[in-house]
């Protein structure tokens, strides 16, 4: 048996953004772990006044995406609009057996306006899976997912993964209005308890969310926080995580250009043991340690 030479893909990120040898040697010929490929639209339906649910057929590399990872989409161009760069889009769901991935997106700009025009059978250029997703410790019995707005879509794949591990999930979901709440059904199908708070009902303020989270901690329902979509709610969880010595992970959104660690456009500052460290959201994240993340 011959020993294959190491490839660059044998190297991976470590916590300091530098490179360490972590994977086993992979044999040639070259096998990509990230692809840019044409996917075919299965469906692209409005789920409420602001959000669309997009399902595409893709190859096995893309369909193997993990919770918290993202794709970078080359959005169709509408007349008079010129999105140039790809758009990062968090993963809403996967079905590796059917070779499908799903996105849930809010129409906000020229890229997502283009996405909203896609019809069944259309082609969409997807690049991924990208980034480092959620690390779900199978030893946890109870976790809490806290999300707001589009962040609820990013948290969605956690529900399935937690159920596979036998981990009980309580979700605290926030939105401007009840009709703009997404992901609730998906979490409930996976056996999660969903607590909904909204601006319209004046239940979404940080004080009320903190009260809810304190109750969950007291009831033994929270061994870790998973969050996305709100700096305000992240700060509430950071305080509670410190007070009760709980771990947590946060998925971050940031404007990107390349999506794969080349351009250093999407950097943010993190507090690592008192030192401010600059990290690429696309490469070192988009999921980061809750307590290291600065608002």
């Amino acid at each position: 048996m011959t020993v294959e030479p190491l490839q660059l893909s044998d190297f991976s990120r470590d916590d300091h953004g530098s490179i360490g040898l972590v994977r086993e040697s992979v044999p040639r010929p070259f096998k990509p772990t990230v692809v840019a490929e044409m996917s075919r639209v299965v469906s692209n339906d409005a789920v409420n006044a602001e959000y669309y649910h997009l399902v595409v057929e893709c190859g096995p590399v893309a369909a193997a995406a993990e919770p918290g990872q993202f794709f970078s989409l080359l959005c169709p161009k509408l007349p008079g609009e010129e999105p140039f760069l790809r758009r990062p889009m968090s993963l809403y769901g996967t079905n590796p057996h059917q070779g499908r991935i799903e996105f849930l997106y809010k129409v906000v700009g020229s890229g997502t306006r283009g996405l909203a025009t896609l019809k069944r059978g259309d082609l969409l250029d997807i690049m991924g899976p990208l980034g480092r997703g959620f690390a779900l410790d199978p030893g946890l019995t109870d976790i809490v997912a806290v999300g707001r707005g589009a962040g609820l879509a990013t948290l969605a794949p956690l529900a399935k993964a937690a159920r596979r591990n036998g981990t009980r999930v309580t979700a605290v979901f926030s939105a401007r209005r009840p009709d703009l709440m997404v992901s609730v059904g998906l979490f409930e199908e996976q056996g999660a308890t969903v607590i909904q708070v909204t601006d319209q009902e004046a239940t979404s303020g940080p004080a009320n969310v903190e009260r809810i989270l304190r109750e969950l901690i007291t009831d033994g329902r929270c061994q870790a926080f998973f969050t996305c979509g709100s700096s305000r709610l992240m700060r509430v969880q950071q305080r509670l995580a410190e007070e009760f010595s709980l771990p947590g992970q946060v998925a971050i959104e940031q404007q990107m250009a390349c999506g794969i660690g080349l351009c250093f456009c999407c950097v943010r500052d993190f507090n690592v043991g008192g030192t401010i460290v600059n990290r690429r959201v696309c490469w070192d994240g988009p999921v980061f340690d809750l307590l290291e993340t600065l608002p």
Partner: protein
């Protein structure tokens, strides 16, 4: 010539032979791309610019998109030379593709010392980034004029025996003079060119779209401008020109080579299609095959310019 693979794709940049003319532009390449493509297929690898000191880079936002282009103001974040030698150079040691190290410094002496310290086993050439528009006020850089280009190139030449490439700026008014200054002081090749100094304003906030206010324009929109500059430089000097500006297809590469480029760098296009470089290599090979061109290097400078005689211009003045 029976097969596409019989075509000689290699090109010579001074003493350095590349297996094909396609390489990444500095700042658009990192280890992450190894998830998408086989680095051994590239003509060369060009690293992100390294500085001696640790640099944080510019405040965000660092990028804004414009039609067929983007403006960046990254500001050369760098983990410093020690990290580069210890962590980055070894990453590429096992490849057959030569490693070109891009460097930057605030002074000619700084450039020279850094080039000397990075003239190490595993480094095939030094690319001196004397043209980044984002690190000095108002886009000032050595390559803005011939005198400062001569000064920094002379210092670099004395400091290293490695092939020395200097990367020029498109923002100067007299590109051929700058190119000649680089050649006269011993540069082995010219990279033409860096990004075009530019700006964008957000009408919602009345603020600049970039944290650094100004930035560098890149992407397909800049190609006609830089193509012209490659043509001018190729006419001004005898050393090889490496074209860089808006390349996103083999057709673009062929245009650059016809205008006088010996090789090219692909940058922004990789952000849109991460595997564009291997695709361009295949397409370039297919083009040569179909046009019965045995060597890709034969394209360099093969532009045909004929004096138009008066009868050709008759359509301008229909009687």
């Amino acid at each position: 010539m029976k097969l596409e693979t019989d075509i000689d794709m290699s090109v010579k940049i001074g003493e350095l032979t590349l297996k094909n003319p396609i390489m990444p532009a500095s700042g658009t390449f990192a280890e992450g791309l190894s998830q998408v493509m086989d680095f051994d297929r590239l003509g060369a690898i060009v690293t992100k610019t390294v500085t001696r000191e640790v640099r944080a880079g510019n405040p965000t936002p660092r990028v804004v998109e414009r039609p067929n282009s983007m403006i960046n103001a990254i500001g050369i974040p760098s983990k410093g030379v020690a990290h580069f030698v210890e962590k980055i150079i070894p990453l590429y040691a096992h490849l057959s593709t030569p490693l070109v190290v891009s460097i930057s410094a605030p002074t000619a002496d700084g450039f020279a010392c850094l080039a000397r310290d990075l003239s190490l086993p595993g480094v095939a050439a030094i690319e001196a980034n004397i043209s980044c528009p984002n690190i000095e006020e108002d886009g000032k850089a050595f390559a803005m004029n011939a005198d400062s280009t001569a000064t920094v190139t002379r210092a670099l030449r004395a400091a290293t025996d490695l092939p020395l490439w200097i990367k020029l700026t498109p923002n100067t008014g007299d590109m051929p003079a700058v190119a000649r200054a680089g050649e006269a002081e011993g540069a082995d090749a010219l990279v033409v060119a860096n990004t075009i100094l530019s700006m964008a304003i957000d009408l919602k906030t009345f603020k600049p779209s970039l944290g650094n206010v100004m930035g560098g324009l890149s992407g397909p929109a800049v190609k006609p401008i830089v193509l012209r500059q490659v043509f001018q430089c190729a006419n001004a000097v005898d050393i090889p020109i490496i074209g860089c500006g808006g390349i996103s297809s083999a057709e673009d590469v062929i245009e650059y080579m016809l205008a006088g480029a010996r090789a090219v760098q692909v940058g922004t296009a990789t952000f849109l299609q991460p595997n564009i470089m291997p695709r361009i290599i295949e397409d370039l090979q297919a083009f040569c095959y179909h046009r019965q061109i045995n060597r890709a290097s034969a394209l360099t400078g093969a532009l045909l310019i004929e004096e138009a005689d008066e009868s050709d211009l008759s359509w301008l003045d229909p009687q």
